[in-house]
Assembly symmetry: C2
Homo-oligomer: 251 residues x 2
């Protein structure tokens, strides 16, 4: 990827590195190498590491490193048919693992990051969530007044202590994530997500080429939506490229 960017800088202005999350020592070395030696402008990780949360002690140092480097982490959902939707079944049916399971994965990873206190430790940590923040904007009410009552539904762990330790309401931390516009042409959802994160935290993405036209449909419908949004020209420009330039430190 570094070579591609060197050779075709006008077509590929930058790249982000994929990391070996299953190898905690190698992970940090590779992240440093990708950023310092190869010029990566961020990293992408999946929403779980071998079926465990990203905030497990082994992979936690990645967040420290990326906060120090002040470069973003892209969060991509990972789940397959082998994760059943019902405990009584062996596998997920009808590709539910993809349609619904991926946004669920993203949302669960976001919750672990929030409740691990990462945004209190690193208020400027930049994490870009796929599909406009997973389920979080639509369930703003559950995340807001619902999670304000964290602990009232649990008897064997005292979550009220955790709630008191956090400096803000849980909802406020969820607004500290960044989100992309890859909602596959969903107009109302795009407005809902944009309202939740604000135009300075939403970045253009289309999920091309995974559309029925094999690549042309999602960019077209996503651009149509962004053109229709009730935002200022500056905000529209920020969504298309300004936010990316700022986060990735591109000229």
């Amino acid at each position: 990827l570094a070579e591609l960017v060197r050779k075709h800088p006008r077509r590929f202005p930058a790249f982000v590195a994929s990391l070996p999350m299953n190898d905690p020592a190698g992970l940090l070395k590779e992240a440093r190498r990708a950023v310092r030696d190869l010029g990566a402008v961020g990293v992408q990780v999946f929403t779980n590491v071998l079926g465990r949360p990203l905030t497990a002690p082994e992979t936690m140092p990645l967040f420290d490193l990326m906060a120090r480097l002040d470069l973003p982490i892209w969060l991509h959902p990972a789940r397959g048919a082998e994760t059943p939707d019902y405990p009584g079944e062996k596998r997920s049916h009808y590709e539910i693992w993809w349609t619904l399971g991926w946004p669920y994965e993203t949302s669960v990873a976001m919750a672990h990051i929030v409740f691990a206190g990462l945004f209190d430790k690193y208020p400027d940590l930049k994490i870009i969530t796929h599909h406009m923040g997973g389920m979080i904007p639509y369930f703003e009410g559950r995340v807001g007044p619902g999670w304000d009552q964290l602990g009232t539904r649990t008897s064997d762990v005292d979550y009220t202590k955790l709630l008191r330790k956090l400096k803000k309401r849980p909802l406020e931390y969820f607004k500290m994530f960044y989100a992309d516009t890859a909602l596959m042409g969903a107009w109302e959802a795009t407005k809902c997500g944009l309202n939740f994160f604000g135009p300075e935290r939403v970045l253009f993405a289309s999920d091309s080429p995974f559309d029925p036209e094999k690549g042309s449909m999602y960019p077209r419908t996503t651009i149509e939506i962004i053109e229709r949004l009730d935002v200022s020209p500056e905000e529209r420009h920020a969504i298309y490229e300004g936010n990316a330039r700022r986060l990735l430190k591109l000229p």
Copy 2:
């Protein structure tokens, strides 16, 4: 409940019955008894039966019965901390099972109902989903063009056959559900859900008393939202009570 309705008809105009889904034979008997003998105007079931989908052969006859009776089925999510969010963990943390797991449960149950072909069999089947249709409206793009490609992500089952057997696009079936307004004060999400299902399929609900004020907050914030919606007076009336009167056959 039947007695309560008889005694206080102005306060409790009707009731719906809870059913023993773990007892397939008793289930049908009890549904018939509740509706015919006791006057129930519908039934409520949970989104899974002992960890299996509602569309398993044992419980499928309930849909036949309710379609014949032409009365609604309320779908309530069911999941607890014992359902882990990561395969590598023993349980769900931070009450994720509630905040995110419940809408996921609702969405998964909706998908099983759609792909079991229930709406082709019973186009007038009335199923009322909690929390404004779970994740479906926000992920209209994944449910739409995403599920139009059902089968392309799976090699061991031929889902393209299933897709051809359905009379409509998957997305169109998801719009045949009804949804309630219990979004705990989420304004943008309410607009998104209303736009998806349409004002003739959205019913007032508040989730009272599970709010931080122990009952007064969610009705108040939900009513504030419905008052602000850009709908006609007739549509607003339908959301508040007209749709319920129609579905429940109340005077």
